[in-house]
């Protein structure tokens, strides 16, 4: 696989701490869940991801939806998970794609996280996001997995959805790639 080129605006993470380390299982799960959250926020995100891949210079890795879907199927929570792991270039490209997509939907993320607006409007936004997100989770993820059940749980689910939106917001912007990459490599708790 060719090395992924990057957007000049997004600096590379420090090689000594992050590069060269493959993503653990939890990291793969989280990466795909973040993209799923982006899809729930932006109905055109399927096309937008391919366009963004071109902008990031990683279209050789993700030339079409099928190739992107194959990489996302490394998430063990998928209904049909792929056994193959992401290589270094693919991991980096997918992280950059998540961050770029998060930057694209940042106004929506911010609106969800802000407490300035009336609570009714914020609740309506959350309700819309959660409805779409739960539909996507039911459609694509394995409901027998505990993590998937937690996402669909009416009590525990909203907190996890909030964490995902907060993570996307923190992953947006110039320092987001480095932050998200490091967090995906966290030791398993």
């Amino acid at each position: 696989m060719p090395e992924a080129s990057v957007l000049p605006a997004i600096p590379s993470p420090p090689a000594e701490s992050l590069a060269g380390r493959s993503l653990p299982r939890r990291g793969l799960e989280r990466l795909d869940l973040l993209l799923l959250a982006v899809e729930a926020l932006d109905l055109n995100s399927g096309e937008a991801m391919l366009w963004m891949s071109e902008q990031l210079g990683v279209s050789e890795l993700f030339p079409n939806r099928v190739e992107l879907w194959k990489r996302r199927c490394t998430n063990p929570l998928r209904r049909t998970p792929s056994r193959s792991a992401l290589d270094q270039a693919e991991s980096e490209a997918l992280i950059r794609l998540v961050c770029a997509m998060a930057d694209r939907v940042y106004p929506l993320l911010r609106a969800l996280l802000s407490s300035v607006e009336p609570p009714e409007i914020t609740n309506q936004r959350w309700s819309l996001f959660q409805t779409r997100f739960i539909e996507l989770v039911r459609e694509r993820l394995n409901p027998r997995r505990g993590a998937v059940q937690a996402l669909l749980d009416p009590d525990a689910g909203p907190l996890l959805h909030h964490e995902l939106i907060q993570s996307l917001a923190l992953a947006a912007g110039p320092g987001g790639v480095e932050r998200l990459w490091a967090s995906l490599l966290d030791a398993a708790a």
Partner: protein, 293 residues
Amino acid sequence: MKTTLRFDQISCRLEVEGLPDVSAGQDPESVGIVTGWSLRWAGRPELEGSKEHLEALMTVVLPYARHLLSGVRRRFGKEPEPVEIGPHPEGGHELLLRSSQPDTPPLKLKLDDAELIDLVRVLDQLRHDARLRIELPVPGSRPLRLHERNQRRPLARRLAAPVGGALTLLTSAGLVLSLSQPLTQLNRQTRRASAERVDPPARKPAELTLRVNGESWLEVSRFDGTPIFAGIGSGELRYPLGSGLKVRAGRPDLVVVQTGSGPAQELGKITEINWKRFEPEPVPEPEQEQERS
């Protein structure tokens, strides 16, 4: 010539003023010497400070954001550091700023998620701006270690698994012990009962007891003629009955004979000087023994 770097987000604006370090050959648009900075918040007091204050702000806010991304909500910065940030007890985040002016109480700001992320974004923009030509002491993001990640879970939850495991182990051990005691007792009782049933009490081998009142010549032999005793007998003499004994005495009237637990009787009259045969008692059958027990 003074240069101002400006970074805008919805809720805040960061402005950093400075000068290029001409001695280092920096271009006129860059900032190599920070002379001051200001942070304007919508509906909040404006913050101002020196380069050191800006560094202090970045040193706590960016690691806080990094930890938040891993779900770890912990406090960064402590007295007497000028900036502190941590989770607010009522939700959101608390930014605490200590003034270097004496008698000035610290300023506490409650930020929601959106405001915090706006602040993080302006600091990120500044950090990654190519025009800023100074080294900022902001640690790079790194994966959290297990003990750092564990801080996100309350102590009770972290201890739940090991304590639960230990309790289960103790309960199982107690259960096994409490079950094994009645079993052992039952086993003992069964063993005792079976021992009582199977092994009847050891029967003393039947004996022939001869009590000689005074002295008398005495001869004791087996049925086949094997001699056991022949001589003057006196007092009490005991011989295993075995398969049977025969006794002859010179003064049978002085000799009292008893076999096993049977009745004692004279060996005979003074005139009856002949062999008297003593058969062993018949051994009871096991069925009879069981019935008896």
